[in-house]
Assembly symmetry: C2
Homo-oligomer: 428 residues x 2
């Protein structure tokens, strides 16, 4: 029997506590499956006295996560502190420097410092595993890095922020507006301390940067993502998209193009009857397309104690079994740095605007679209009680540049009221 694998866990919030629970509940199962005992040597968190519902007195305690990372009675440092810099980053570096493997759920840290950390780990012969950082309980890092290793990945997409998907699907189901549902999420504890991480698309963007790195062999490039949050989505858009057979999702899309790496995280329309369109509530979904596998869809809980702890412990089991590979699936020194490509591939768009109710208004808008080379697939004008008429277009495939040109021209006219809404329609 191999020696036990000894863990140190930094951060005892929901996920950390969940990991301790699994270690206690499934000690025998884990040993049967990995061939060695998995033990917990010591933990670190802010408050030693807080009751976390699991007994901690059997384990060593460190106030400082860096001190935990340096202990010589741990083999794996489990980082569940969070934050892209500060104690999390310091402790992970200390762990690597003192010969520990690292398991982390920290998407922000990897999106911003992934390449540097991967190089450190590989130089030291250590591994960094981070299944829990992307899409909670879904083993998508493993699927992409290992299961699909023989594929040239052509596109990765995902709905990876449960809070945003909860808000968008509840807007549809209840007819409540964005603000009311934002407040509901705040009450339910669904929001990060800085809610912009959720509703601004930042958190989901971190996840996309990590997936894109693995998929395309590039260094994680969070700054290269076009990010747009869901704060401006109105109930009208939800309903009118539905009326046209679509759902609005905060969708991440990454693909490698001839002009660089395209990464977008933005509200998009997807067909209501597609797997992404059918995804409701806080569930996450990742779609991976490869030249051999065609399309793989993974769906599961994107957050929560059990699912996230499941992912953390899956990584721990891999290390216990001796399954070791480069952080992003190939040596960090070989990761490319590609220019960020603004979405160049043409797509259909959803366009909503309020037309001033006077003769020739629609003709003028249609003419502008035509002059910009944007052709119209479907158009609907809705009944109205005020002086403006809600009008909806679904365009044929067009470039974003042509669309922006048309939008700029429309703003110069006196026939539209307020700002037009343009949302990309993603073919999935």
């Amino acid at each position: 029997m191999t020696a036990p694998l000894r863990l140190g866990i930094a951060g005892l919030g929901t996920v950390g506590t969940g990991v301790v629970q699994i270690l206690r509940r499934h000690a025998a199962l884990l040993e049967a499956r990995t061939g060695r005992a998995i033990t917990l040597s010591a933990v670190s968190a802010r408050s030693r006295d807080k009751d976390r519902g699991v007994p901690l007195k059997d384990y060593g305690w460190e106030d400082d996560p860096v001190a935990l990372a340096r202990r010589d009675d741990i083999d794996v440092f489990v980082e569940l502190i969070g934050g892209d810099e500060g104690p999390a980053l310091d402790a992970v570096k200390a762990a690597l420097a003192t010969g520990k493997d690292v398991v982390t759920a920290n998407k922000a840290m990897l999106a911003h410092h992934g390449r540097e950390l991967a190089e450190m780990a590989e130089a030291a012969g250590r591994v960094i595993r981070y299944e829990a950082a992307v899409a909670g309980g879904i083993p998508v890092i493993k699927a992409l890095t290992e299961g699909l290793a023989a594929n040239e990945i052509t596109r990765v997409m995902g709905v990876m922020n449960g809070t945003c998907n909860y808000i968008l699907t509840r807007m549809q189901a209840t007819g409540q507006g964005y603000n009311a549902l934002f407040e509901e999420c705040a009450k339910l504890g669904y929001l990060e301390a800085d809610p912009n991480l959720d509703v601004g698309g930042i958190d989901a963007g971190h996840k996309l940067a990590i997936l894109a790195a693995i998929a395309f062999g590039t260094a994680p490039d969070f700054d290269g993502i076009e990010i747009e949050g869901i704060q401006h989505i109105q109930l009208e858009d939800i309903h009118q998209a539905a009326d046209m057979g679509y759902r609005i999702k905060l969708l991440g899309v990454a693909q490698r193009t001839g002009r660089g790496l395209e990464q977008r995280m933005q509200p998009c329309l997807v067909p209501a009857d597609s797997p992404l369109g059918q995804l409701e509530g806080g569930t996450n979904m990742v779609v991976i397309e490869g030249d051999a596998v065609q399309q793989l869809v993974l769906r599961g809980p994107g957050a929560g104690q059990g699912p996230t702890a499941s992912a953390v412990m899956g990584d721990v089991c891999d290390i216990a079994r001796g399954l070791r590979l480069a952080t992003f699936g190939q040596p960090a020194t070989t990761l490319e740095t590609l220019p960020a490509a603004r979405s160049a591939l043409p797509a259909p768009y959803y366009l909503r605007m309020k037309l001033v109710d006077k003769p020739g208004a629609l003709a003028k808008v249609a003419a502008i679209l035509g002059q910009a080379g944007v052709s119209i697939d479907r158009m609907r004008q809705y009944g109205h009680s005020d002086a403006t008429a809600p009008v909806l277009f679904v365009t044929h495939k067009t470039s974003r540049a042509a669309l922006d040109e048309a939008l700029a021209a429309m703003r110069q006219t006196d026939v539209i009221a307020g700002e037009p809404v343009a949302l990309r329609i993603e073919e999935v």
Copy 2:
């Protein structure tokens, strides 16, 4: 740089040819990701002269797969011959006996001889990998064995035969009957040489036996599966299930119960708006439920050249990277043998019968159900033009034994015509 990993491929049908294509197309990608070249030393197939669309002259040739397995210029024997015994089994044993790792897509062989082969492999320090054996391109073996290793798995379910799902969804979409669609599948080449492997549920049963072994730490027990095919599903059932909000799927379900291992592969009703209910055509879906992860849904192509070759090559990449683990996720000698438990957990059922059109017929049937303790959730009687009236019941949860008692009693009466149809409704 590590030495190249040298393959020998036995079986050059669609999948084998697809594997050769990936090796040729992605040599550089595979080397970048695994850190070593992956080369093909030799192949074996029935006909040396057949044009398979890929050049084979660069590789050695063996008429006999056993001779290929024994060659000393291969590290990994890739078995794509198929069949639970005969040349496939002989060659795999020869490969293990001569120190080769094995990658196979052979579900029948593993369902029937999995434990024996796993013991051989583990005694020899070799691995057997078989991602392609279950659900084609979906990396479900990896998800279950590795990603969810820290979970007690509570249930595994899946739609894992694309041909059956194609037939069932086309019956719904086109209104054609089973026989017409069976003929269509035969023409399209969707059927195994022995079509009963597909439509009889055998092929899907092999896959379920493998998943259950990993999930529950038991030796694969194909003979313990209750198997029922789709041959008896009538168009009426498809339509009437839809009318009640359900779809009919050939669904595999495995769960560990207090009385043993329950494994069923049978046509079931699932809610039309569930992920399983929405699965159309030849796509496969596997649902895994674990105590920590809750529910994971994996969806992708269940067959075809690219997807299956992707899975085979994912296994090869794991071996190239040195990722090695026990065949069923824990040592074969520790796999339990559990009694086969006939589905004991109560479930709602769909019951369809033709009532003889005379006074008191419905009352009699209802009384029989009541006497057996089967209570009715919903009932519909449909219009009819002959002397029998189609009647449909959805029961509340009941045991199969109680239902069988009621069915037996009904058969003794003179109020039903023909054989009643009873299909389980699976909560998913």
